[in-house]
């Protein structure tokens, strides 16, 4: 095989420098179906990210009307019709599990397609490349301009300034969109414009502006190759059936120039389809040669497929010399067997089933979660009090949760074998011996409950008491059980 030997590599040995300077990548523009897919996904992802904070959702008077809102001061998370409380963070755990499994599933089906199409690093880098190309021109022009470093003209300086300004503007708006998820977006935009926003907003915009600018403008593929753990993990998770961007060397080799290939073919000699035009290398955003086989640096963006397809079409050969394929098929084709693709297999079925299971559990939990809740804590000191008439009283601290967006009237009952009476410190009223509480919307309320058993009913040992709260209007009920003890 014709391997590229980089002369600088040859000088690296134990006494050589510890590091290698980065070789700048100048990806060429390309068009084709994968490129179009990438544009579409980029528009979708960025559209969602930048615009979602402005989506409204009516939750009633006094409640925030932002569709997606992380309300840190009040410890609430809003997502359209869902409102989560701090004690419900396990939904996020579930979401993270689903996300991880989805990544595994994507990997089992199509290798690092997440990296190539959806990862924020890829999306923003791609956008930054587009800007760079628009301002400074395509691959050759950029290489030429960079090579002519010493002679910076007025025009060149203007180009550089323009590129970085656009990059910074995108980065700034990226940070700006981030903070909009944490407070009412239109208000914050106005505050930002009038320089009245809280300091923390400016700090976060600053941080995200800096990271976006550095990661997408300067570090680019270095993030994927040296910083991101996913390539290592995915390499361990993948199997021989996963579709990866593959150079079909069974078809491409032996590569030779177009002219030679035509001559050899005329003579009826076997010759590969690859004409060694290096188009696949020129377009690659990580600057690698996919013809060297699968490698960690490949983010599976498919741009080399588009590039090679263009070449193949031009020279009248079949497209997809580079394509999503697996190793099994390379060997099968060499043996003259038809390629097989197996998307549905135990691994993908397992991942899909796990995703469905976790999703179902989360959905069930979400649909059946109570919007009225009660927690009871028995007083420990004293556990029981004897009153002057000989009756026994136990006290409890009760926390009531009203997760609905409106105030409601709640009746409290305590049932048990002791025929006890119930008194609530701070009850708003008592109707037919039932203490009534007004629960403010979207809050928790702590109450002190006193349960008294008359002398003749004094229990010998601890007996259970059931506390029940009933929403008078909606009929919603929540209950908890604790114990009643004697001194």
């Amino acid at each position: 095989m014709n391997k590229t030997v980089n002369p600088t590599d040859l000088q690296l040995d134990d006494d050589g420098p510890l590091y290698a300077a980065r070789k700048k990548v100048y990806p060429q523009s390309v068009s084709g179906s994968f490129r179009r897919t990438k544009w579409g996904l980029m528009a979708f992802c960025l559209g969602v990210y930048y615009l979602l904070p402005f989506a409204r959702w009516n939750r009633g008077l006094g409640a925030p009307d932002q569709a997606v809102l992380v309300d840190l001061p009040n410890s609430r998370f809003y997502f359209f019709f869902i409102e989560l409380w701090p004690q419900e963070v396990y939904y996020f755990t579930g979401l993270l599990i689903v996300a991880a499994l989805t990544l595994f599933l994507m990997n089992a089906v199509g290798g690092r397609i997440w990296c190539g199409y959806l990862c924020p690093q890829t999306v923003w880098t791609d956008l930054f490349y587009a800007v760079e190309r628009w301002v400074e021109g395509d691959r050759r022009e950029r290489m030429r301009k960079d090579a002519a470093k010493g002679t910076i003209t007025f025009r060149r300086a203007g180009e550089i300034a323009l590129k970085h300004s656009i990059w910074l503007m995108i980065a700034w708006w990226t940070g700006g969109a981030w903070v909009l998820y944490f407070t009412d977006a239109p208000t914050l935009v106005w505050q930002l414009l009038t320089f009245q926003a809280p300091m923390i907003a400016y700090i976060w915009i600053g941080i995200l502006t800096a990271t976006t600018y550095i990661f997408a403008g300067w570090m680019r593929e270095q993030v994927c190759v040296y910083m991101c753990p996913w390539p290592r993990i995915q390499a361990a998770l993948t199997d021989e059936w996963a579709l990866n961007v593959t150079y079909k060397y069974d078809r491409g080799e032996a590569r030779t120039s177009l002219k030679k290939a035509t001559d050899l073919r005329a003579l009826g000699q076997p010759v590969g389809d690859c004409i060694d035009c290096y188009q696949c290398v020129a377009v690659c955003p990580t600057g690698i040669d996919i013809r060297n086989g699968p490698q960690l640096d490949c983010i599976q963006c498919g741009l080399c497929i588009d590039a090679c397809d263009t070449v193949m079409t031009k020279i009248g050969r079949e497209t997809r010399l580079i394509g999503y394929d697996n190793d099994i098929n390379i060997h099968r084709r060499q043996e003259g067997k038809p390629p097989i693709y197996r998307i549905v297999r135990p691994r993908t079925i397992t991942y899909a089933a796990l995703i469905a299971a976790v999703g179902a559990v989360m959905l069930y939990a979400l649909l059946t979660r109570s919007l009225l809740d009660i927690n009871v804590l028995h007083d420990r000191n004293p556990v029981a009090v004897k009153l002057s008439d000989g009756s026994i009283r136990n006290a409890y601290t009760v926390r009531l949760l009203n997760k609905r967006g409106f105030d409601r009237v709640i009746a409290i009952d305590a049932d048990g074998p002791i025929n006890a009476t119930l008194h609530v410190v701070g009850a708003d009223s008592v109707t037919q011996d039932r203490p009534m509480i007004i629960l403010a919307r979207d809050t928790t309320t702590e109450l002190r409950l006193l349960v008294t058993a008359p002398a003749e009913n004094n229990p010998e040992k601890s007996v259970p008491v059931h506390f029940r709260v009933t929403d008078i209007g909606l009929g919603e009920v929540a209950s908890a059980t604790d114990h009643f003890v004697s001194p």
Binding site: Y19, A20, R22
Partner: protein, 290 residues
Amino acid sequence: MTEHSDIDHVSGRATTGHEWDGIKELNTPLPRWWVITFYLTILWAIGYWIVYPAWPLLWSHTTGIWNYSTRAEVATDLANLEKIRGDKMVALGAASLEEIEKNPALLALARARGKTVFGDNCAPCHGSGGAGAKGYPNLNDDEWLWGGSLDQIMQTIQFGARSGHQKAHEGAMLAFGKDGVLKKDEIVTVANYVRSLSGLPTAAGYNAAAGAKIFADNCASCHGENGKGNQELGAPNLTDKIWLYGSDEATLVETISNGRAGVMPAWVGRLDPSTIKALTVYVHSLGGGK
């Protein structure tokens, strides 16, 4: 080139010269920025050692040049908290006791504040939950020596009982035996009579009529004709099931012979008015308040 220099023929790249079972390690140097970042983290760590407390020593630790200490941070946080609390305590001070109990927000604040203040000041005698002990009233029950209304509780907290404060509750159980007012057998008789008042069994052969007579002559002036007590004088109700010092004969004889005069300190001047209000509401809400 050193002796390790070696080119891998498959990739055409230099190897490190390390070989395991025929597998050679390619020399893949790190990018420069990576190495620089690595050295910067080392520098950062050294700076950190110098700036912040870092090294534990045998008897202490290095303090760093900025004198940073988490303890100082806590102190600042507490001071800030005190400031925030200050504003809320003003609202508490402005409201009447009844208003506080009717307003859920103020009630919650008063109970929270009252609970901490109770723990710091009252718990040594009355117990952390106000359960009391022998000689120290249980504040959860419904028996009050000096009255269990909001105002009465506040009065007691402010000035105490037998505390020496001029507005303090006065009145003590007299020492009928020590002072020679009653003889030993009379004390035993009246002790049994007192037990009978709350339905407790009496000693065999005790003279009920004599007990009633001794009680009427000596005790009724404070405890009332029926032994129902008198909150003006802090005289406990002797007919109920609650006994501050105990209800067995020996304890009663001891009480009657030597008297009782437990002291509740005055808190006015030691606690500020709104804190006393919070404490009052807290004690009242423990469950015994009238």
